[in-house]
Structures are given as structure tokens and as C-alpha cells.
């Protein structure tokens, strides 16, 4: 019994070390890369939970666009550090910069389209619509009843 256990204890790490995954990833094991990727995971999961549970379109968009900006930069920064020995850090930092620029922009454009097309928002007693252009861009050809059916 004891030799069998010893064989198992010796064989399992050897088999794990000999698996192709362990051989093909020399870049990992960096503590800062792991930390950045985990931070990105936290932001991404928070954004997904907000996406599933917030009450209206604008709050969901707020969760996804803002948190994903930081989370994606965490992921890409972690990849940049992990791939640093291969000398391709600039390419990953280019992706991160592009992401940092475009994620808030796309969120802004969706929110503007939704507001001007009159998507309903969650109201409380002291909610103030300062712009006052809610639903200003709805085309005249669209029947309001069809819009209500599409929204419900």
C-alpha cells in the first residue's frame, strides 16, 4: 500500500509537468500578470452581474461600459507582462490603448441612441431629465403602438 501511495505522489506531478500545456506556457507564472488578470476577472464578473440584474437599459449600459473598460485593460496588461519575454509587449499595449479609447465611446453612442429614441428609464421620485430630449429622434413613420409592442 505504501509503495503505491508513494508511486502516486511521485507520478502525478511528473505527469502534470509532462503535459503539453505546461511545456508550452513558459511565459506564465509572473505574479504581477496573474494579479492583473484576476483584477480583470473581478471587474468583468461585476459588469456581468450588473448586466443581468440592473433595472433598466441605462444602468445596464453603465455597468457594462465603465467596468469593462477597466477590466479589459487589466486583462490586456496582464497579457503584456506575461508575454514580455517574447518581445511583443507593444502590440498588446496597442490593443489595450484601443480598448481604453473605444469601450466608453461605444457605450456613449448606444446610450445616446437609446435616449433619443425614447427608451424608458427607471424613475424615482426625484429623477430629473435635464436634457429634455427624451424620444426626440423617433421617426414620424413609426406608429407608437408598434414601438410599445417592441419595447414590452
Amino acid at each position: 500500500m505504501k509503495p503505491l501511495l508513494a508511486l502516486l505522489v511521485c507520478a502525478v506531478p511528473t505527469a502534470l509537468a509532462a503535459s503539453p500545456e505546461a511545456l508550452e506556457t513558459p511565459a506564465l507564472g509572473n505574479l504581477w500578470a496573474d494579479l492583473l488578470i484576476l483584477v480583470g476577472c473581478v471587474f468583468l464578473l461585476t459588469a456581468a452581474i450588473g448586466m443581468a440584474r440592473f433595472p433598466d437599459f441605462y444602468t445596464r449600459l453603465h455597468a457594462s461600459s465603465k467596468l469593462v473598460t477597466l477590466g479589459g485593460v487589466g486583462f490586456f496588461g496582464g497579457a503584456a507582462i506575461a508575454f514580455a519575454p517574447l518581445g511583443i509587449t507593444q502590440r498588446i499595449l496597442l490593443i489595450a490603448a484601443f480598448f481604453l479609447l473605444t469601450a466608453p465611446l461605444s457605450g456613449y453612442m448606444i446610450a445616446r441612441a437609446g435616449y433619443l429614441r425614447g427608451l424608458p428609464f427607471y424613475r424615482e421620485a426625484d429623477t430629473v431629465d435635464e436634457w429634455g430630449a427624451h424620444g426626440a429622434a423617433v421617426p414620424k413613420s413609426e406608429v407608437p403602438d408598434a414601438e410599445k409592442e417592441a419595447l414590452s
Binding site: A48, M51, F57, S64, I95, T102, L105, G107, M109, L119
Partner: protein, 86 residues
């Protein structure tokens, strides 16, 4: 290990966002969910590149990010003005 945990996080996020994209009460929710799914795809490609040690996959992540952004902007412009290109 960290990569496996990260992939599970991204897959959970994909599942929650798919729920929102399928159920979403309005079209805006669906557009936001699909934009977020594009982000998830780019992040997942980066994680696969790290896991397999193939840096060529990062170009695929860049292309997915660019195409997702262009698609979102095109949808928003179409919904506002009806014209995608000037």
C-alpha cells in the same frame, strides 16, 4: 491555474450576458449585451493565447475588438439617422 479561473469567470460573464441578450426587454439591452459579448470574445481570445502560448492569436483579439466597435457604432448611427455611412 489563474488562467483556468479567469476563463471560468469569462464564461460566467458570457452566460449572464447571453441571458440579457435573449431576454432583454428592449432593443437597447440587446445591443449593449452584444457589445459586451464582443468584449468577452476579445478577452477570451487573449486568455487562450496566454494558455497555449501562441502570441499570433493576439491579432485575432485586436480584429475582434475593432469589428465589435465598428458594429456597435454602425448600429447606433443607423438607429439615430438611418444612414450608416456619410
Amino acid at each position: 491555474m489563474v488562467l483556468t479561473v479567469a476563463m471560468l469567470c469569462v464564461l460566467t460573464s458570457v452566460a449572464l450576458t447571453l441571458y440579457r441578450a435573449l431576454r432583454g426587454p428592449s432593443w437597447g439591452d440587446r445591443i449593449a449585451a452584444i457589445d459586451f459579448l464582443n468584449t468577452n470574445a476579445a478577452v477570451l481570445i487573449v486568455l487562450v493565447a496566454l494558455k497555449t502560448g501562441r502570441p499570433a492569436l493576439l491579432d485575432a483579439a485586436l480584429v475582434v475588438a475593432i469589428l465589435g466597435f465598428l458594429g456597435t457604432v454602425a448600429l447606433a448611427r443607423y438607429l439615430l439617422g438611418g444612414r450608416v455611412m456619410e
